[in-house]
């Protein structure tokens, strides 16, 4: 016969065991929840920023990465976005000709960097083509093809904007010279000066405007990679809009990057390239483009002529280690055409890989192991 004390002891043991199990479940439920897959960081500079984690990560760690990333991007946007009326770039855009303003070191550094890229690309990369882009209908305010509001706006006719008046093209080309933005420092303070004279067309005065979004996005990607790597993650990719991506590792191996077919409206895959620990930037002339009198109108502008670049290139994809520089390089290749674009890339200090797609369904590349997924195209390897 069991005594009362023995029974009591067994009850205590049973309750203790139950409590231990419940305690264990509670303790570990929160901290071992693992996540993997797509995380939406946010929409910045008009593009969706997405992190794809290809390894199981503690949810708390992933949340911290997302929180830090959002905070970083919000700060960059506050300083550099033209969509934010109080950003330093917006304030600069509001200045009259020859006025000067004080800016943060980040803005100063990025403007200096953009000026370097402007020189490097012989002016083809110019953050000062805002008015020309707006004239041809490639800025955010034209997304819905609304009613004309500014004096140079034309009504959208089915699938084209009527030809712009020469007076505007000529005047806005004068504002597209980015070398007229002067960055200087004095007594550890940083300044930007608008050294470009204003232009007047049909009685309306226009002052130079700049947009550093592409440089800012590259800068953000570099900073984000540092944050992610600080947390010890290696298996991921970061996608900023449809044109810029950073590929880390994929289970220790390379990622199979799919390049969209620029001739196909359903955006089928044109080819696959295997890459790891590389940044990729693409620029193309096929999105929202239209044609007037045999001329293609798209968002890559030749700052010297004031018109969209006219050549055989539909899309240029440049692969390298620094996100900050890639967008300007892919833009320059589209502007220069195949032969000059390839020469231009070869003249750079770093060895860049590239894929260039032309209107006549040819693909020029120096990447080995490209897997072509559409037999309507021919692949030409350039060494």
């Amino acid at each position: 016969m069991k005594t009362l004390a023995q029974k009591k002891s067994k009850v205590i043991k049973f309750i203790t065991l139950c409590l231990a199990v419940i305690f264990a479940l509670f303790c570990f439920q929160g901290c071992v929840k693992l996540v993997r897959g797509v995380a939406y960081i946010g929409n910045y500079f008009g593009a969706d920023l997405i992190l794809y984690l290809n390894e199981n990560v503690q949810k708390s760690k992933a949340d911290k990465i997302l929180e830090k990333s959002r905070s970083l991007l919000e700060n960059i946007e506050k300083t550099l976005s033209t969509e934010n009326r109080n950003s330093e770039i917006s304030v600069f855009n509001g200045l009259k000709a020859f006025e000067t303003m004080q800016v943060s070191k980040t803005t100063y550094d990025l403007v200096c960097y953009a000026k370097e890229l402007n020189q490097k690309t012989d002016g083809y990369f110019s953050p000062a083509v805002y008015y020309l882009l707006d004239l041809y209908g490639f800025t955010a305010r034209h997304e819905n093809k609304g009613e004309p509001t500014l004096s140079y706006d034309r009504e959208w006719l089915e699938n084209v904007y009527p030809k712009a008046q020469e007076e505007y093209v000529e005047a806005f080309t004068a504002l597209a010279d980015f070398s007229k933005v002067v960055a200087f420092s004095q007594d550890e303070k940083y300044y930007l000066k608008k050294d470009c004279p204003s232009v007047t067309v049909f009685g309306v005065e226009y002052n130079q405007k700049i947009d550093l979004a592409s440089v800012a996005k590259g800068y953000a990607v570099n900073r984000l990679n540092k944050i992610i790597e600080e947390y010890g993650l290696k298996e991921y990719y970061l996608s900023f809009g449809t044109s810029s991506i950073y590929l880390a590792e994929n289970k220790g191996e390379e990622w199979g990057l799919e390049l969209v077919d620029p001739n196909n409206p359903t955006k089928d895959t044109l080819l696959t390239i295997n890459l790891k620990n590389q940044n990729v930037s693409t620029s193309g002339t096929y999105e929202n483009a239209y044609e007037i009198e045999g001329k293609f109108y798209h968002h890559i502008i030749d700052p010297k002529t004031g018109y969209p670049c006219q050549n055989e290139v539909l899309l240029a994809c440049v692969i390298g280690s620094d996100a900050l520089v890639l967008d300007s390089l892919s833009t320059a290749v589209v502007a220069l055409g195949v032969d000059s674009g390839v020469e231009f890339l070869k003249s750079q200090k770093e060895d860049y890989s590239f894929v260039i797609v032309t209107r006549d369904n040819k693909i020029y590349t120096n990447v080995s192991g490209v897997l072509l997924r559409n037999n309507d195209y021919t692949l030409e390897t350039i060494n």
Binding site: Q6, V35, G37, Y40, T242, G256, L259, T269, G284
Partner: protein
């Protein structure tokens, strides 16, 4: 044999504690490795092979790629229009379901969940995939 009263009154003995420690370790191990978790972070909708929208559970944000084919309703549901009709999608508890369709297969569609891998409405050529599965990187 007589019972050691002092021992009987003690709830734990050395051996007991050892057994408890093993049970505890086994529970934690099983919890970590065997507890089913929802790895899905959202879903995307394809219509005629073209991606028309994405939805992210964490931020409750929808990215609509084609506003002529997808519209958001005030109650948080989405209507996806195909050439032959429509499907109404409802997002609840980090999951998506088709709650209404005019394809004649309402019963079949409304029973499907993304845990099965995908939701397919064949008459409307609409497919819903879970995000968080393997998604290849794409540019261009």
């Amino acid at each position: 044999m007589g019972i050691d009263k002092n021992l009987a009154l003690k709830p734990f003995r050395k051996g007991d504690l050892f057994v408890y420690a093993i049970i505890f370790a086994v529970i934690i191990t099983l919890f970590i490795f065997l507890t089913p978790r929802n790895d899905q972070t959202g879903f995307c909708v394809y219509l005629d092979g073209e991606k028309v929208m994405e939805y992210y559970y964490e931020t409750e944000k929808a990215v609509i790629y084609d506003s002529e084919k997808v519209s958001e309703v005030e109650d948080g549901s989405f209507i996806v229009y195909s050439l032959d009709g429509y499907n109404v999608l409802s997002v609840q508890n980090d999951s998506v379901k088709v709650i209404e369709t005019d394809c004649g297969l309402t019963k079949e569609c409304t029973k499907m969940t993304l845990d099965m891998g995908s939701i397919i409405c064949a008459p409307h050529n609409m497919v819903i995939y879970a995000l968080g599965e393997d998604i290849p990187p794409r540019v261009g």
